[in-house]
């Protein structure tokens, strides 16, 4: 069931168009994310939904009802922001009960809880769920950032909303609190059946939490769908960049073969001028013709480095290259390796640290890599590229 609909919303700030006819649909009971670069107007969307900002045009529809003309305080769309923003003059329990006291009168008259949903959780129940029992009498300055963010969540939950809007709720949390709060958000969604609209610039948050993602870029929704699908198959080169798909090659389709589920692409060199002399095979994807210019996107974690000591299985025989490791960087969880092939193609590969050690990899070593047919995603070359491909 559709819970929230954003129809043709546009917004400009002093002649700069931030949102250019945005459409979103959010299903009841889901966690949805709006993902994009900083400063692309993601927060503006949330502010328009909860009524802090007025849109220039378009409609916000909640539960089939147009709420354009409702004041912020009448919409019941609580916001949780990057900072906890607890009221400094109130202790934890007073902060949590803030919305409850305000809504007490409305609660009796309204019939918005006609569904068999449990009516209003008590502050005690919510505090228990969020693991902040015992902090009731403390003041905001006396609790940690992670605890404060949970109080902020509790404060939003107490008004018994159908949807909670979250604007980068993890950006100020350390990694441990972040994991905890992420789990809590999932619990809230599952146990209390509250929908969540999350705004974030961290793809980890999106993949971890959401059932649906929207990519906001250049004031437009460029892509939407299940995060895994969008991540694997970005519809445009801009989206691919935004999602951190670092391996983007230029190519020209030489052959399409629906029956054998294959498309063959002649790959060009790094500048996209000359052919590199490599043909890559990908799974068949519709709407492409021979002779068409395309981008090939491969996620770095999908590239396989072949072990020298073992026979290769079938998928890893596809699209094999030999190349030299030109750099390897240890990131917090993975090794990020750059490989330059004999044909002068550069590929970025992510592998677990132990694999790096077991395979005895090092800078300067020549290795064989394989690009699985299924991991290659083709993008049509029609849109103007916002970021230059190879710089």
């Amino acid at each position: 069931m559709k819970l929230l609909e954003i129809k043709n919303i546009s917004k400009s700030f002093s002649n700069k168009k931030v949102l250019d006819v945005i459409n979103l649909e959010i299903e009841s009971g889901e966690i949805s994310s709006i993902f994009g670069y900083s400063g692309e107007g993601k927060s503006t969307v949330l502010k328009i939904i909860c009524g802090i900002l007025k849109q220039d045009g378009g409609d916000v529809i909640l539960n089939g009802k147009n709420i354009n003309n409702l004041e912020s305080c009448e919409r019941r769309t609580p916001l949780v922001m990057d900072e906890p923003l607890l009221f400094p003059n109130m202790n934890v329990i007073e902060n949590i009960e803030f919305g409850l006291k305000l809504n007490l009168s409305k609660r009796n008259s309204d019939n918005y809880n006609g569904k068999n949903k449990k009516l209003f959780y008590s502050p005690k129940e919510i505090m228990e769920l969020l693991g902040i029992t015992g902090l009731e009498k403390r003041y905001p300055g006396e609790i940690s950032m992670g605890q404060a963010q949970r109080v902020s969540l509790a404060r939003a939950l107490i008004v018994n909303p159908e949807i909670i809007l979250m604007d980068e709720p993890f950006s100020n949390l350390d990694i441990i609190s972040k994991t905890k709060v992420r789990k809590l958000i999932k619990d809230i969604n599952r146990e209390l059946k509250i929908s969540i609209l999350l705004v974030t610039h961290d793809i980890e948050d999106v993949v971890n939490l959401s059932d649906k993602m929207f990519i906001l870029n250049d004031g437009k929704i460029q892509d939407s769908g299940h995060p895994k699908e969008v991540l694997k198959k970005p519809s445009s080169i801009d989206t691919a960049f935004l999602l951190g798909t670092e391996n983007i090659l230029n190519g020209i389709i030489s052959e399409t073969d629906r029956r054998n589920n294959t498309i063959k692409i002649k790959v060009k060199d790094r500048n996209g001028d000359k052919e590199a002399g490599v043909i890559i095979e990908a799974d068949f994807q519709g709407n492409f013709e021979a002779g068409e210019q395309v981008f090939l996107a491969v996620r770095p974690e999908e590239i396989i480095i072949l072990r020298e000591d073992r026979d290769v299985s079938k998928p890893v025989r596809e699209n094999r290259f030999s190349g030299k490791i030109i750099s390897s960087i240890f990131t917090s969880r993975m090794m990020e390796i750059s490989i330059k092939s004999e044909e002068n193609l550069e590929l970025k590969v992510l592998i677990p640290f132990h694999a790096y050690e077991v395979m005895n990899l090092f800078e300067g070593k020549t290795v064989n890599v394989s690009l699985k047919k299924s991991s290659i995603h083709l993008i049509k070359k029609k849109k103007t590229v916002k970021n230059p491909v190879f710089t």
Binding site: C73, P78, L79, F87, G99, L102, V159
Partner: protein, 268 residues
């Protein structure tokens, strides 16, 4: 080498500050050396003195009560309702600070006089501002409200706007936001503003004298009494009132400073 320069710097700033404070204390405390404990105690028994001090207290209390009622909405508009005329409003509400109180008193005297249409209309309807206590309240209000409004505005300015926006999404109306968050959070600023505008009002002389007409017991406030006693040559009485006024100012300044230090250390 650096250390030496720093020591010289410290010595210099301390000497300059100390010299200034010493001069100020000598100048102001001078009046206490012109009297004796005996004379001071004798003057304290004078009913006229207490009348004028009581009148000053009463009027300044009315002034700050009005300040509280009109000053908070004005500070709210200045701080939260930013618009193209904010700048103009800010100038208007600070203007009395930069104008001579005598000029303000004179302007009120003229406007509220029977020759001016506004004054005539009010007088015809039985409302008199010239030579009455309400006239004193009016001029003291004009002179003291900029202090209150500016301090409260500064306090409002320091409140996190995102927090207020967020409270609205939790169901708070503008009234709820003002009474449940803005005012409680700005409590220290409001107290400091009241203390400042009170001490300004209780010590006001020039504008007050313009509209007061110096009627004993009715419009003769403590600062006017100091002037009247001095002009009669009754120095012991003038010194006593002046001394009490000074102690009152010192007391409220103490309160003001205490709360303004608290604001500084408690910026949210």
């Amino acid at each position: 080498m650096h250390l030496n320069k720093n020591i010289i710097f410290d010595i210099l700033v301390y000497i300059i500050s100390f010299l200034f404070f010493a001069t100020l204390i000598i100048l102001l405390s001078g009046i206490f050396f012109q009297t004796s404990v005996h004379l001071f105690a004798k003057e304290l028994k004078d009913a006229g003195l207490w009348n004028s001090i009581f009148l000053s207290f009463k009027l300044s209390f009315i002034v700050i009560s009005i300040n509280l009622i009109i000053g908070i909405p004005i500070a709210y508009v200045l701080s939260f309702k930013e618009s193209k005329i904010s700048f103009l409003l800010d100038i208007i509400s600070t203007f009395p600070l930069t104008t001579s109180p005598l000029v303000i008193g004179f302007a009120v005297l003229i406007t509220m006089g029977s020759l001016n249409p506004v004054g005539k209309f009010l007088i015809d309807n039985g409302i008199k501002f010239v030579f009455t206590p309400q006239g004193i309240v009016l001029v003291q209000l004009i002179i003291s409200f900029p202090f209150f409004v500016n301090i409260v505005k500064t306090s409002f300015d320091s409140i996190n706007r995102k927090m207020l926006d967020l409270s609205k999404t939790l169901g708070a109306s503008s009234f709820d936001v003002l009474f449940r968050i803005i005012i409680p959070v700005s409590y220290n600023g409001i107290i400091a503003g009241l203390a400042m505008s009170w001490s300004r009002s209780i010590g006001e002389y020039a504008a007050t004298q313009m509209v007061s007409g110096v009627i004993p017991k009715i419009t003769e406030t403590a600062p006017i009494e100091v002037f009247v006693k001095t002009s009669y040559g009754n120095y012991p009485a003038a010194v006593t009132i002046a001394g009490i006024l000074m102690l009152i100012s010192l007391f409220f300044l103490g309160i003001f400073k205490y709360f303004s230090y608290k604001i500084k250390t408690k910026i949210i």
